[in-house]
């Protein structure tokens, strides 16, 4: 190679298979009404299970769910990708009046929420029951047939 030939830095994943995360799904989804689900996030929502989480949420959104309660009790990891998919869900739901709310927020998640200021976007409830009750109350106050 000539001395003046620039040396290119290696491309990140050129020639390599796409990253395939091990199955790390730790969340569970419980439908509490035709338009609402509670997602127990579990130990982590991060780059390893974010795609799976997003796909599950989208499936429920397509089925008419408009109120997502994310239960963060016991969640130790919420990374940038995890928060990113929550924002993606938020953007998908808001045009149709849907909501994403947080419940039983663990300290690690609370720190992320505070430092990103995303508490401005995602309403928080001390418990899952409080979040579910809030949706029931909102539904009761709306005309029949709305989410």
């Amino acid at each position: 190679m000539p001395a003046d030939t620039p040396v290119a830095l290696p491309t990140l994943t050129a020639g390599l298979p796409a990253y395939a995360p091990p199955r790390a799904m730790s969340f569970t989804i419980q439908k509490t009404s035709p338009s609402a689900v509670v997602i127990r996030v579990g130990k982590a929502l991060d780059f390893r299970n974010a795609a799976e989480f997003k796909a599950a949420c989208q499936e429920h959104a397509r089925a008419g769910v408009r109120y997502f309660v994310l239960d963060f009790s016991g969640t130790g990891i919420l990374d940038s990708t995890g928060l990113g998919v929550i924002f993606s869900l938020y953007r998908q739901l808001t045009p149709t009046g849907g909501q994403v709310v947080f419940a039983s927020v663990s300290r690690p998640v609370q720190v992320v929420v505070q430092l990103t200021r995303t508490y401005k976007v995602f309403r928080q409830f001390p418990t899952v029951d409080a979040a579910v009750q809030a949706q029931h109350a909102a539904q009761a106050a709306r005309p029949t047939g709305t989410a």
Binding site: D79, L83, G84, F87, R91, R107, L115
Partner: protein, 185 residues
């Protein structure tokens, strides 16, 4: 603290968090970091490891990631070495920063921005043959250190994140070496 080595890219994230669990339990990061500082340090290391696991090319040597955290008076000094080929960190940071201005920004691609906003004296350089080293210092987080990385229209604009210089394709932090460089090997 001693240097911890990880060899399996499929388990390294869980292993690193298990290590942090012991440090939290033993208060090993006190008094430099309080509880929230520990969480931010854990997140910073997590984001870098995530980046390595997803994007780094470990082709010349078997994967190895080494983590050293040194607790000092007011902050911690962190070194993460790996056996990947390395990559253009500054280019990735610029791409991530540009992505935030997109009308519908991707849910991915903010990890390096999170890392750089909560650390200082961040450097990424070759560390001997077939090794790369990320180093940074981290103190207890200021208020809303990550504000702007996720921003609906009513969020405040993100301040300029990248004020570092590029040296031979690698990122050099503030141009000055950290005040101490404990050996990781």
């Amino acid at each position: 603290m001693s240097t911890h080595h990880f060899y399996d890219l499929e388990t390294v994230v869980d292993e690193v968090h298990a290590l942090f669990d012991t440090w939290t339990e033993d208060a090993s990061l006190r008094p430099a970091l309080d509880g929230d500082g520990e969480i931010v340090l854990r997140l910073a290391v997590h984001e870098w490891i995530a980046n390595l696991v997803q994007h780094a090319a470990f082709v010349e040597r078997p994967p190895e990631i080494s983590l050293t955290v040194t607790v000092e008076a007011d902050d911690v000094y962190v070194e993460v070495e790996d056996t990947s080929l390395g990559f253009d960190l500054l280019g990735q940071l610029e791409a991530q920063s540009a992505m935030l201005d997109a009308p519908a920004p991707s849910e991915r691609g903010r990890g390096l921005l999170m890392l750089i906003t909560c650390t200082r004296a961040l450097e990424y350089r070759p560390a001997g043959e077939d090794r790369q080293r990320l180093s940074f210092r981290l103190a207890n987080p200021g208020d809303a250190v990550f504000a702007g990385l996720f921003r609906p229209a009513d969020f405040e604009p993100m301040e300029a994140l990248i004020a570092d210089e590029l040296v031979d394709g690698y990122l050099s932090g503030d141009g000055a070496p950290p005040t101490s460089h404990p050996s990781s090997r």
